[in-house]
Subunit: 351 residues, 2 copies
Amino acid sequence: MSLLAITTAAIRPLDRTAMAAARARQDQLTKPQGSLGRLEALSIQIAGITGTPRPCLRAPAVVVMAADHGIARQKVSAYPAEVTSQMVLNFLAGGAAINVLARHVGARVVTVDMGVAVDMPPHPGLRIHKLAPGTADFTHEPAMSRTTAQLALETGIAVASDLIDVGVDVIATGDMGIGNTSASSAIVAAITGRTVAEVTGRGTGVDDAGLERKIALIAQALARHRPDSTDGLDVLAKVGGFEIGGLAGVMLGAAARRVPVVVDGFISGAAALIACTLAPSLQPYLIAAHRSVERGHQAVFAHLDLEPLFDLGMRLGEGTGAVLGISLCQAACKILDEMMTFAEAGVATGS
Amino acid sequence: MSLLAITTAAIRPLDRTAMAAARARQDQLTKPQGSLGRLEALSIQIAGITGTPRPCLRAPAVVVMAADHGIARQKVSAYPAEVTSQMVLNFLAGGAAINVLARHVGARVVTVDMGVAVDMPPHPGLRIHKLAPGTADFTHEPAMSRTTAQLALETGIAVASDLIDVGVDVIATGDMGIGNTSASSAIVAAITGRTVAEVTGRGTGVDDAGLERKIALIAQALARHRPDSTDGLDVLAKVGGFEIGGLAGVMLGAAARRVPVVVDGFISGAAALIACTLAPSLQPYLIAAHRSVERGHQAVFAHLDLEPLFDLGMRLGEGTGAVLGISLCQAACKILDEMMTFAEAGVATGS
């Protein structure tokens, strides 16, 4: 059996016993029942994921996977392709938004070169798993082979597993790759059945003409490759990206080890769609952090039956929304674990 | 001149120069312009509040003001009135939701007895400014005198000022007081002109019959007292609460010292309405943390032209939403201060 097959088979349903215990405790804490809303539900979900009635998330990490995209040559982005590698260097220097927000919430940043076009210098903060110097341009040919798509997923599984081995107990996903909203829109259209126009936005900020071109190119590519909407590997191979496959693997690898996954924005959402076609049992392990401005994101939530925690009008990627989501997950768990019960605090209960 | 008059006169417009500098810097940071959405706008607002182009919020505090309400004798809450004092003890013991969430974001909790019905034991974490052992039942008589209403506001101003003197640089507001959603609904109806039914919810969780009674009692009280919607002191005196007046004072006191105020839920919102009638210049100093489940909250936002940062279905009070909002304010400021610019990071800019 492949690592991918072993991993998807290892994803179990949430632990109902732990969830019931968490629910019972929430209802004894010194607050009106349900008055902490999503934080209560989140703590119960995390109890189910981790299989512990009072989970603590002490060692968060955000995995930022970077890769280049052949389709970037078609000018679908407001930024030149070299920005992918330049931003990886920025991540390693600690100067990007994800570094700032990860420091704020106490999460480590793990940057992974899944297929950046240029060679990246060795750096202790960088894992190099370059599958190729960027995908092929999927407007002309499949983005990658099916074998490479599986390798992308298995690389993500291995990255998650390594982090969990050293104690990481919650993983956020992040992405960097000029052109990757195009790949993500193609994936979302392919898997959800929405039209390309419905799920394609401005990415880094293309103008009206650019958006029209982007939609036309993606629609042509889908018409040419006809990816199988039920087969995540096929979709990934035909119109995906290395970082997107890697993030799908991270999600599967984390869930197989009962570690919660905080999903960032649109690109991470596309990865989640791919991962869930391979293992529908993944869904309850996913915590959608935020609603992105990128218009296709809503189709992801609808298809996966996820509801994001917040909407701050963000559309940056990198895991910036996801790390803020980690902080809310930690807050939810601390509420469950640290608050006193009515009995402990000597507070009268409600009528 | 009274402390109240001096304070309201001291609230200046936001610093446009600092805001322009913050905006200019945001646009040079290594991200597509505007891609961090509300976080960018928030950083610019805080620059304007503090008068510094790269503000840092290092010492947050949440002021939790507690008081009892005469109207609680009318059984408008699902909890008995003694819960107010019991919860104050819980705050001091560190076992309440606000303690957990304040620890999570690194904020100190300052608990203030503004008028709890029973005497509270001395405690280093408790400030005692008891105006009376609870308000009068405003269904029969004004909740307090106009003089006491002013004293509540001035006490809040002094509390904020003391905290700022010792270095606190962002203040969140929180409340505890069985019966205080009734007072808040009365305030919101009086000031916004909405009907009582529109702005009255279940508070801690009264049933349908309880909600109907609550609405009828508040409507009768407003008909009897006819508070002047343009005079916050009159509204506070007739249908308010000591903690609500205190929180309004905290907001004014913070704004007068150019310190951002993170406003919690419905009760804090009612306090903000009172404060803004006294000083309309307060509005830009307010940061609405979250949208509460309590139905009248929306009327507060509409009247004050505020948009909450998030909606997690919370309705607990205590400042629980506001401290999570503090963390977002800090994140916003760190983005502005710590991210590298395109030039610094050697990243190509967009087209």
